[in-house]
Amino acid sequence: MSNKHVPLKARKVSFAWEDTPLHWVPGDPFTTHTINVLHLLLPAGERWFVHVYKQVLPYIRDERLREDVIGFIGQEAMHSQAHDEVLPHLRDQGLDPTPYTAQVDWLFEKLLGDRTLPPGRPRRWWLLERVALIAAIEHYTAFLGDWVLNAEALDRRGADPTMLDLLRWHGAEEVEHRSVAFDLFVHVDGDYARRVRTWATAFTALVFLWQRGTRFFMANDPTLADGRATFRDFHRRGRQGLLPSTGAITRSIPGYLSRAYHPSKECSTEQAVAYLATSPAAVAASAAEKSQEGAA
């Protein structure tokens, strides 16, 4: 079976960024910066996932789902830390991301944070709304994870191996745990209207944040005189396989909104596990863990 259940376990990876150039897809700042937007959104975003899921643990009545959620939390915490470590490297290269990330921080810490609501129904409503939002966002992280695991065009272009390993390690773990957020949403609520509503919010927000992020990087890139980003640039890279294609993104919409949707029907766990078995960062993490166990 290609999509059997694997126990989830966080891997403590670390990456050295000294040798990664500013344009890590050589000669293609647009692709570089479009993918770089991940580093702007994920540190705050995945920290917020962890924050929300810690609160949902008491509502889980299924032991296996609880174990999955616990594994999920650790993986997300590590993703957030790993992307966060890229930001000082961007700053060192003259591209300070703080004006943007400070606003993303506000979005997740304040706007989507815990609100002073009366206990009982209002508080539960806000928690369920956020759980549903995470399920919708995870649909897209799995989509992107699956895409990057198969994006051979990036290898052909000579993209930086450390950055590719970060993206593929992360993508593989996203594919590995792609069902957890949706299963949790169905377990605690599963209301179809909420699923549609939160999908619309998440999709709109992602499009808004992503195009602003790409434009922000292009405009502030110290090596570009007049950095612009257009939809045409994006569409063309999609056709070349350097970014997800417009068609694939469009097709993923009815997928999530279908009543028969389940994440396990998409992507391949086997491919993700196979990548994790060879990823330099993941291999180093498991070696370090073994030596620590031996020492303790």
Binding site: P88, T101, V104
Partner: protein, 364 residues
């Protein structure tokens, strides 16, 4: 609608034209205004979080090169670890060294805090220790690359009218940068004890810091016997800050002799241990009103989960941060790699961290 053959614009057509021109003009103005705002604030109209959280990783592990590994005194080596643009530190700070075997050990920084290209630490060989110091002495050499975390400071030099230092053996390492950092004319004194003069690092340098004599008392056990703590700690100046670093027995003896009201600062590296591993301690869960025992071979998390099964956790190895809990009382033995100094003040990761004393009180 009837076709209108007249070339003259009808009132209706004029209205439509005006409307179109107006809309285009308004769109242009909005676009310009939006552009200006977006330039200043990329996600306008969202506000920014102040201070921002992202982009300041908490645990940037550094890989440093050992460029000197030299004998400093009997059984003491000094390591110089080189890198670039290293974080600055304040006297009293320590580093976590990840040894080639994976063991993690903490060493006080004893070089120059202003030096951002290298860190200096000194380590004593503990004959019957847990293996870390032997590895530093025998496996680590010039050219070895070591992973380093920190620096962190849980022994900071506070402002005080006068200072009293008590150092035992290798416990001089955090005290030395403090002595160097004290402003000219500060009232301080130091009792530095060790087994033999040959085994005491930095003796010469310490004596140079006290050219007139009278401030530094050096006590080598083989020549002078036990240090006279009673005499040294008698008539402490009002408001003096007392700093002590050394073996457990020395720190206990200082704590015992200290008059009420004096501020004692201790630096402990080794947690209380029994012959084979960690010691047992008690954990009180204040809000739930329960008290649990954490055995030496188990964790706070495991104990807490028996009472509160929905306690969040994940990696169980001290790096994901999910199990962080507030600590109300008790001395924490931090064994994680994640928390910042300020977080360490009043919280802990209950999956790996333990207790330096016999009792912790958690806010849960």
């Amino acid at each position: 609608m009837s076709p209108n053959p007249s070339p003259r614009p009808t009132p209706r057509r004029t209205t439509a034209l005006l409307l179109a021109a107006g809309t285009a003009g308004a769109a242009l103005v909005v676009r310009r205004a939006l552009r200006r705002r977006v330039q200043g604030s990329p996600l306008w109209p969202l506000p920014a979080l102040d201070p921002p959280v992202s982009g300041r990783p908490r645990s940037r592990a550094l890989t440093l090169l050992v460029t000197a590994h030299e004998r400093l005194a009997d059984g003491v080596v000094r390591l110089r670890l080189e890198g670039t643009d290293l974080p600055r530190w304040e006297p009293g700070a320590h580093l976590d060294l990840v040894l080639p075997s994976g063991l993690v050990r903490q060493y006080s920084l004893c070089g120059d805090p202003e030096d951002t290209s290298s860190y200096t630490v000194a380590a004593r060989l503990v004959e019957d220790g847990r293996g870390g110091s032997r590895e530093v002495h025998e496996q680590v050499q010039e050219g070895t690359e070591l992973e380093v975390r920190g620096p962190r400071n849980r022994f900071p030099l506070v402002e005080a009218p006068s200072y009293v230092f008590v150092a035992g053996g290798i416990g001089i390492t955090p005290v030395l940068p403090m002595l160097r950092a004290l402003p000219e004319g500060t009232d301080w004194r130091l009792l530095y004890g060790g087994r033999t003069r040959a085994s005491m690092p930095f003796l010469e340098e310490i004596e140079k810091l006290d050219p007139d004599g009278g401030r530094v008392t050096v006590v080598a056990e083989d020549e002078d016997g036990r240090p006279g703590l009673d005499a040294f700690l008698a008539d402490l100046p009002e408001g003096a800050a007392v700093y002590c670093c050394g073996p457990e027995g020395l720190m206990a003896a200082v704590a015992e002799r200290l008059p009420e009201g004096a501020a004692l600062h201790l630096e402990r590296f080794a947690p209380r241990t029994t012959a084979d591993g960690d010691a047992e301690f008690e954990v009180e869960l204040r809000r739930s009103g329960r008290t649990l025992t954490v055995p030496g071979d188990s964790s706070v998390l495991a104990a807490v989960r028996t009472e509160l099964p929905n306690t969040p956790y994940s990696c169980e190895q001290g790096w994901c941060g999910t199990c962080q809990q507030k600590v109300l009382e008790g001395e924490i033995d931090h064994r994680d790699e994640l928390l910042t100094d300020s977080e360490r003040g009043d919280s802990m990761l209950i999956c790996v961290s333990r207790c330096l004393g016999t009792r912790l009180v958690l806010d849960m």
